[in-house]
Symmetry: C2
Subunit: 337 residues, 2 copies
C-alpha cells in the first residue's frame, strides 16, 4: 500500500468485499429499498423483551447471514470490527459475544461501518488477516430512548430531524477475491463547525463530509465524474443539500452522481421521516442491500462510499456543546487500479 497526498491510502492488492448481509425493521420494509434487504422484520422487538436485546439479535443474525453467504467458515475469519450507537456499543458486544473471533470495538457514530472497512482493508492488505468481518447496527427505538425522548411521549420532530434506521449491515472482506475491491481509503478528521442543534445532524456532519471528500479528490487527483456514484450516509436531505453547496465553493460539482443513504432508504413524501434516515445501519443496510449488489452485477463499477458520524451525546448537548462530525471514505471498484 502507499500513502497518497494528505490522508489517502491506495492498496496495491486491494481487498475484496466477498459478501454482505442486511436485516431491517418494519419501517424500512415500507421504504423504496425494501426489496434489496435480506430480511425485513415485522416489528421492532423480534421476539425479544427490550429494544436493546432486539438490536443485539439483529446484528447477530445479520453477521451470521453474511458469514454463511460468504462461504468462509467463521473459524477462518481473523478479526471482527463492529460498533453501534448504544452506550458502550452494547449492541455489538452482546450480539457478537458468542462469535469467537478476535474483536475490535470501534465507535464512529454513523461512520462506524466505513471506519471498520477502512481498518479491515489495512489489516487485509498488510497480511495481518486473511478474512475480516465488519458489522454495525442501529435501532430507532433504542436510539430515540437513549438520545432524545421516551417514545411514549410522542414528541414532535422538527423538519431537520432524521429517523434512525432499525437494522444491521455486515460485510465479509477477504485478501483473496475478484472484487468488488476496496482500492482506496480516506479516513477523516474530526470537524466541528459549531452546530448545536441535536435535531439537525445533517448540518453538523456535512462539513466533515466536505473535508474528507475534497481531501479524497485532492489526494487521488480524481474528479467527481470518475465515480459512477458518490454515496454518503447519512446526511439526509438537509445535509445532502449542504454538502452539494459546500463542494461548489471548492469548484467541485457532485450533483450529477451524488446521493445519500438517508435520502434513499425512506420515501419522504409518504413515510413522515422528515430529513431522512440516519443511524449506523443506514449506510450499513443500504450499501449491503443495494449498492454492493449493483457493484457485483456491474450496474455500477466505481463508487465512493463515505459514512458520516456525529460524535455527540445527550450529556454534551445538555452542557451546551456543539456537535463534532467525522466522515470516512472508501473507493470501491470492480477493477484494481
Amino acid at each position: 500500500m502507499n500513502r497518497l497526498g494528505k490522508q489517502t491510502i491506495h492498496f496495491d492488492n486491494p481487498p475484496t468485499i466477498v459478501e454482505t448481509a442486511s436485516i431491517v425493521g418494519p419501517k424500512e420494509a415500507q421504504g423504496p429499498m425494501a426489496g434489496y434487504f435480506d430480511q425485513c422484520l415485522e416489528d421492532e422487538f423480534w421476539g425479544e423483551k427490550t429494544w436493546e436485546k432486539a438490536e443485539s439479535k439483529i446484528i447477530k443474525e445479520t453477521v451470521n447471514l453474511a458469514i454463511t453467504k460468504s462461504g468462509i467458515p467463521a473459524t477462518n475469519i481473523d478479526f471482527c470490527f463492529a460498533g453501534d450507537l448504544l452506550n458502550q456499543c452494547i449492541s455489538s458486544s452482546f450480539g457478537l459475544r458468542e462469535l469467537n473471533i478476535p474483536f475490535f470495538g470501534i465507535f464512529g457514530a454513523c461512520s462506524t461501518f466505513v471506519e471498520g472497512m477502512c481498518l479491515a482493508s489495512i489489516c487485509l492488505e498488510a497480511g495481518a488477516a486473511n478474512n475480516v468481518l465488519c458489522a454495525t447496527s442501529s435501532h430507532f427505538c433504542s436510539a430515540e430512548k437513549q438520545f432524545r425522548f421516551p417514545l411514549e411521549l410522542g414528541n414532535q420532530r422538527p423538519p431537520t430531524a432524521q429517523w434512525t434506521v432499525t437494522g444491521s449491515g455486515a460485510a465479509v472482506l477477504s485478501s483473496n477475491g475478484n472484487g468488488p475491491f476496496i482500492t482506496h481509503i480516506t479516513p477523516g478528521k474530526i470537524v466541528d463547525m459549531g452546530i448545536k442543534d441535536a435535531n439537525n445532524m445533517g448540518a453538523a456532519m456535512a462539513p466533515a463530509a466536505f473535508d474528507t471528500l475534497i481531501t479524497h479528490f485532492e489526494d487521488t487527483g480524481r474528479k467527481p465524474s470518475y465515480y459512477d456514484a458518490i454515496i454518503t450516509g447519512d446526511l439526509g436531505h438537509v445535509g445532502k443539500d449542504i454538502l452539494e453547496d459546500l463542494c461548489k465553493t471548492k469548484g467541485y460539482n457532485i450533483n450529477a452522481n451524488y446521493d445519500d443513504c438517508g435520502v434513499l432508504i425512506f420515501d419522504k413524501s409518504k413515510q413522515d421521516t422528515h430529513s431522512g434516515g440516519s443511524g449506523c445501519a443506514c449506510i450499513g443496510t443500504v450499501f449491503s442491500g443495494y449498492f454492493f449488489k449493483q457493484l457485483r452485477e456491474k450496474k455500477i463499477n466505481k463508487i465512493l462510499l463515505m459514512a458520516t458520524g456525529a460524535l455527540t451525546n445527550a450529556t454534551t448537548s445538555q452542557q451546551g456543546e456543539s456537535i463534532p462530525g467525522i466522515a470516512h471514505a472508501i473507493a470501491i471498484e470492480n477493477e484494481k487500479c
Copy 2:
C-alpha cells in the same frame, strides 16, 4: 508481519513507542505511582464546569504533551486511535476535536489503550502510517455518575468494587525508531462466563484475560518466564488472583513476574480503593508513566502488556445481562525478535 498460531501477529519491522505521557487526578497523586506521572491535578475539575469537560481537557493536554515530548510535529502524525468510557466516547471526540489528525474512534472499555496500540502497530508496519497516536482517558466522577450512582449519594461500595482512575495516558508510535518495540500483538475475543455483578468487574474480565494470555503463550511458544513483567490492567486484586489461579489450571504459573495496574496505582491499605484501580486510564497512565520508562531505562526489557475491558453498561445490568469481557495483549521488547 506474519500470523502465529490462532490469533497472534509477529512484526518483522516492529514499531517503536517513541514517547508517552500521563496526567492523573488527585487520588492517583496520593498513590505509590505518583512520582512517575507527568502531571498530577489538584482537583477533579481542572477549572472546567463539569467532570465530562474536565476529562476531555485531561486527554487533550495528555495528547499534546505526548506529541511535544515525541518531537514529532503533529502534522506528521497520520492517525489517532482513541476512545474512553463515556457514552459515545465523548471524552476523546471532544478533547481531540481540534487535533486535525485522521481519527479512528475505538471502544474496548478498559482495554481501549492496548486495542489502539494493536491497530496502530498494524498500520505502522503495513506502511499505512509513519506515526500514530494512541490515547485514552477515564474519570472517577464521570464514570460513577454514568455507570453507578450519583456521587452525592455517598453509596457504599463492596470489597470487590474497583475505583475508576482519573487521568489519561497517550503514546506516540512510529515505524522508525530504536525501541521499545511492539514485537507481537494478540487481539482478544469476547469472553462471557456469566458474571452479573457490576461491582465485580475483575471476576468478569479475568476469563477474557486468561483466554488471551494462554493463546499468546501457545501462539508464540513463549512461557511466562520469557517476560520480565506480565502486566494486566485492570483486573484489580480480585481479578488478579482469579487470573493466577486460572493460569495454573493450564499449567502456567505467572505469579513470579505478574502484576496488575489496578493493584499498582493505589495503596489498598491507605486509600480505601477496595479491589484497586480501573478505567481506561488505569493501564494507560501506569504504562505511560511507569512501565514505559522502565523499558526505556532498560530496567526491564520484555513486557507483555494486556488490557482488559468489561463490555457492559447500566442498561444491560438493569436488563439482567451478564458482563462480556475482552483482553488485548502486546509484547513490548527492547530488542527486535
